[in-house]
Symmetry: C2
């Protein structure tokens, strides 16, 4: 450790166990987290390169980490590894002419949005955790959010990057150009690689003009089937800028906390928005209202008031913490092709009944990405075991429906046991060949994904 500390500015390398303890886990709270050798908090690409060169020579594993808000254990400390936190890499510049931002990885997603907004520009991807998650972590997991149904995911916005490879080599990929067919699409490969191929030290992000004011539709349904029918009817007619789903458990959990006068007896609630310009948003909202009514909605409410619309969006974002008050959560992230959404949601209800655990389903419904929240009491060993069985069965169900075990959180350590079931042996072998080619000694985030 001393040899590395000597190569870095004072204070960059930390071995104080009290500080290290705060970096041991991410939000997956992996109980198997190990004890790292040290924590490094570089401020420059050169320092990241120094760390990796040092680690590569000595075959010391390196676990990269953004804001530590990951839900799949991608940043869990490993015994004998270095933790590399990008939290101090916080520079950003926005170029309104190319509508791009060049940012270091440590900024929070919300800070990138704010920097863009100063130029009337918009960085769309919006994980529910946008106020606390880092843009580097977003790129590492190919994060999504609520707007993806219309605007796509993080990889759709990454035009270029600087990345430090396993041996410390620094490469620049892509750049502020919408079109570039020169060589392999390496930029896109590193997005979503969860720190297993390199450590991203700078991102060039595509920005859009500021999002127009949104219209908001809120609808409640007496049955899940009616809600699913409304979702499919909406997406068949238009591209909403948001189309979110909450089940009865989530509605009640939110209402317990926020007292918004939500319908506690509803089986499901949808929050949908349109950001078409001007009165086209009103027209799209009217189409969405009609789709909900035709599907047999119990109550449908529509508003042009941005604050009111934001309140319902915030309620949806608040569903996870609200359900968390009911018990410890296993937070799922399974997705299916949209026509299978009904089967997924009803299949999850079957699993909950069979395993006798409470599962609340919230979803980015418009893109088929659901977050089943499996509630359990970790003091109750039997319930915890049943919750883990349900967690596994939900993933198996998603795979059986042609879906994915993770739509936006990443595989990390929590889900890697199921990745081969989704991808199959040939894709796993392909993945392994790329991993081995880029990180022959396996020092980059070992134990994650593969």
């Amino acid at each position: 450790m001393n040899t590395l500390a000597a190569l870095l500015p004072d204070g960059t390398l930390v071995t104080d166990p009290d500080i290290l303890a705060g970096y041991r886990q991410d939000r997956a709270l992996d109980p198997d987290a190990g004890t790292a050798l040290a924590l490094v908090r570089p401020t420059t690409t050169e320092q990241v390169s120094t760390v990796l060169r040092w680690a590569h020579e000595r075959r010391v594993p390196v676990v990269p980490r953004g804001a530590g808000t990951g839900l799949s254990g991608g940043a869990t400390a490993q015994d004998g590894a270095l933790l590399l936190s990008t939290e101090r890499m916080r520079a950003i510049t926005v170029d309104p002419v190319t509508r791009t931002a060049i940012t270091q990885p440590g900024l929070l997603n919300a800070e990138v949005k704010r920097a863009a907004a100063e130029h009337d520009l918009w960085y769309p991807p919006d994980p529910s955790s946008f106020e606390i998650c880092s843009i580097g972590g977003n790129a590492a997991t190919n994060a999504g959010g609520l707007c993806c149904v219309k605007y796509g995911v993080t990889n759709d916005y990454v035009l270029g990057m600087e990345v430090v490879l396993a041996d410390g080599t620094v490469v620049r990929l892509g750049g502020p150009r919408l079109k570039d067919s020169a060589g392999l699409s390496l930029t896109k490969l590193f997005v979503g690689s969860e720190g297993t191929l390199g450590i991203i030290t700078e991102l060039t992000l595509r920005l859009l003009p500021a999002q127009p004011r949104q219209s908001t539709v809120v609808a409640t349904f007496a049955t899940l089937e009616a809600a699913i029918a409304a979702i499919l009817a909406i997406t068949a007619r238009l591209r909403p800028s948001m189309l979110e789903f909450m089940d009865a458990v989530a509605i009640n959990a939110v209402e317990d906390e926020l007292r918004m006068d939500l319908d506690r007896t509803a089986a499901a609630m949808l929050v949908a928005r349109s950001d078409a310009p001007g009165e086209y948003a009103v027209a799209e909202a009217a189409l969405m209202v009609a789709a909900c009514e035709n599907a047999g909605a119990r109550e449908v409410f529509s508003t042009e008031d941005p604050e009111e619309g934001e309140a319902f969006t915030a309620a949806r974002r608040f569903a996870i913490p609200a359900v968390e008050r009911k018990g410890t959560l296993l937070l799922e992230d399974v997705g299916v092709p949209l026509p299978r959404l009904g089967e997924l949601v009803s299949g999850i209800a079957d699993i909950a009944a069979r395993r006798e655990v409470l599962i609340s389903v919230i979803a980015h419904a418009g893109d088929g990405n659901t977050h089943p929240l499996i509630v359990h009491d970790p003091q109750d060993a039997d319930e915890t075991a049943r919750a883990h069985l349900a967690f596994r069965e939900v993933m198996e169900l998603a795979i059986a429906l042609g879906g994915t075990i993770t739509g936006e959180h990443g595989v990390g350590r929590l889900k890697k046991a199921w990745l081969p079931d989704q991808l199959g042996p040939d894709v796993m072998a392909l993945t392994r060949r790329i991993k081995d080619a880029l990180d022959p000694h396996g020092i980059l985030n070992p134990g994650a994904v593969l």
Copy 2:
């Protein structure tokens, strides 16, 4: 050859030299094209796998080919290689619920657009060659087009694929899901890999709702500087659905052929469109008219008539064949970050003057992607030599301006000598490591890109 023919349906493998001659080159007309062993025209993924398994065992190179419209020599026949044409793989299905198309690679881009249009859906990427280029070739080169300034490139629309690896293994990547963070972003890696990593046998494409009716603005300028100023003013205010540039040579060449009453004395012409809904397109057109006028346009014309707008778009698309009547073309495809567009265009004029060759510049101006057309007489050895010098210097200029040697055509064989200058040795080494990991015997499209 007989052992392979016996593994395939009758007529799939062709060795007739007359037929092979028609597959020797693509539109790059590479004079160094070799003589292939045979041509295979499979109809199924299984047949592609059979061919690659056979070739892999015997270390026989395989050159994949779509419609043969490539402009970088990516499909040039090699001595002793098998040519694998996907032209007979033509199945497509469109799912309006997930707004996706699943297509084999042999369909033309225009056929994919038509299949989508039957469901009121739209596949945006639109290379100028969209009526004759294949969707598989589009994916292999990460093709672009005129709408990319607003809608992005091919890779933005590929959600999944089936691809046959070098050894014949068939893998499925991604699928009809907007969000999928499970494992590496392999789908995106194969897009733009120009047949060097695998052969794509099926694509899952994201579709959008049908494009709204467009407003069209045409403006002419007495100086290049004024035209560039207008481009930057437009992109700083809004996202046009098209923003195309033609220089004086192109304007005159088009006018020679089409007699549209274009201003032959103008230095530059812009054709810009907006597809914002309803009167918002009119409003955006008005903003673009104002931007052109403020930049000192000589004449500005605006139309809501779709046919009239389409006629100007067609004129722009026709610029390459029109200039081609002046002589043989070296067709360039360099791109730069938008703020450097003026330097690129004026630098190209300097190169033309210095090398005493005619270079006409047309451009997808809104995304900084230009097509300098270097006109020469191949019978004139000296002029041809100067044309090739200019071709090289245009790429060097683009690289010096932080740009790319190819925005949308791919590297192929024509540009591979310059790829290291753009990417640098470390990115080339990274590329090579991935290539070697996926195609250890180097049988896939050898000589292309690397």
